[in-house]
Amino acid sequence: MKYQDDNFYIECVLNGDESAYATLVAKHKSLVFSIALRILNNREDAEEIAQDCFLKAYRSLKFFKKKSKFSTWLYRIAYNAAISRTRKKRLEFVPMDEYVLQNYSVNNEPKTVIGLDDHEQAVLIDRALQRLSDDENLLITLFYKGENSVEDISHITGLSSSNVKVRLHRIRKKLYDEISVIMQQEVKRL
């Protein structure tokens, strides 16, 4: 069955069909779990927080005003719950000049990566992602994997939009650097 819009399932739940919530859980569980895992670094704790997050969202569903996307609202709940659990500091503001941002060069995609097959690319990106910090992983997961906009990430994390951009810019550059380093290491090994 084709997946309808999130709002369709929300309406079903609000009209008393609680089983419609299972569809929403199934759709968003991976990213909610990823957010919690990036912050908590422990699968059991992340699973517990992810479950709590879905319960909290269910309880508050009637207050969800649909001003933002359901996913943004849900991820914000997950982010806050995970941060509260660790008492970790929230993502911090990174000052950066707008000029620098506009002219911040990022290497183009390494051509050698394109020559790899899907499995090899998956292994490569997994290794590169492991070299990033948890915060960097969180942002990159939200943007490139969760396909959230800069504005959405700003709502989720409480950072300003320009700060999210700055961070994503830096992480993107770092990720390409890491990919290049891994590729060079592989070439040397061969």
């Binding site: 919530y21 299972a22 569980k29 319960l55 269910y58 995609e109 490139y144």
Partner: protein, 144 residues
């Protein structure tokens, strides 16, 4: 979405989509839905109105009893709230008739005992409900 262009990178997006996903346990959805079905808030949310009124009944009864007690006591409660003339000429006769009928009910030993037993049973049920509600909330908060 103009600003997203600065960080937009389809190549990286595709590459990251290929990375192994972090997935919770296989029965994650089932676990969440089990907990959802146990949530008291949602069984309450679909309660018909008469059930809400029924749950309010003990409090309404309590307020009415206190009101009756204050109105018929020597305290100037009735005068203060309803005005002396309205209270003594209109309200008090009705209250007196009500209390007289009640007095007639408890005048015999049999009805008095029946009343005492009913009130005691009512109080016990109320305590039981309050305690079981507290225990339920406690176990939910502990994730049991």
């Amino acid at each position: 979405m103009e600003e997203d262009k600065l960080v937009k990178d389809d190549f990286l997006r595709e590459l990251i989509q290929k990375s192994s996903s972090d997935n919770p346990s296989d029965d994650f959805v089932g676990k969440v839905m089990d907990k959802v079905r146990q949530m008291p808030e949602f069984s309450d949310a679909r309660k018909p109105v008469y059930l809400y009124l029924r749950s309010l009944f003990p409090f309404i009864l309590l307020v009415f009893t206190v009101f009756l007690f204050l109105c018929t006591s020597d305290l100037p409660f009735g005068d203060y709230f309803f005005g002396k003339e309205f209270y003594t000429k209109t309200l008090l006769p009705y209250l007196t008739v009500f209390l007289e009928s009640f007095r007639a009910l408890v005048s015999s030993k049999f009805t008095s005992y029946a009343f005492i037993i009913m009130i005691a049973a009512g109080v016990l049920i109320l305590i039981d409900r309050l305690l079981s509600r507290g225990t339920k909330n406690f176990s939910l908060s502990k994730g049991l």
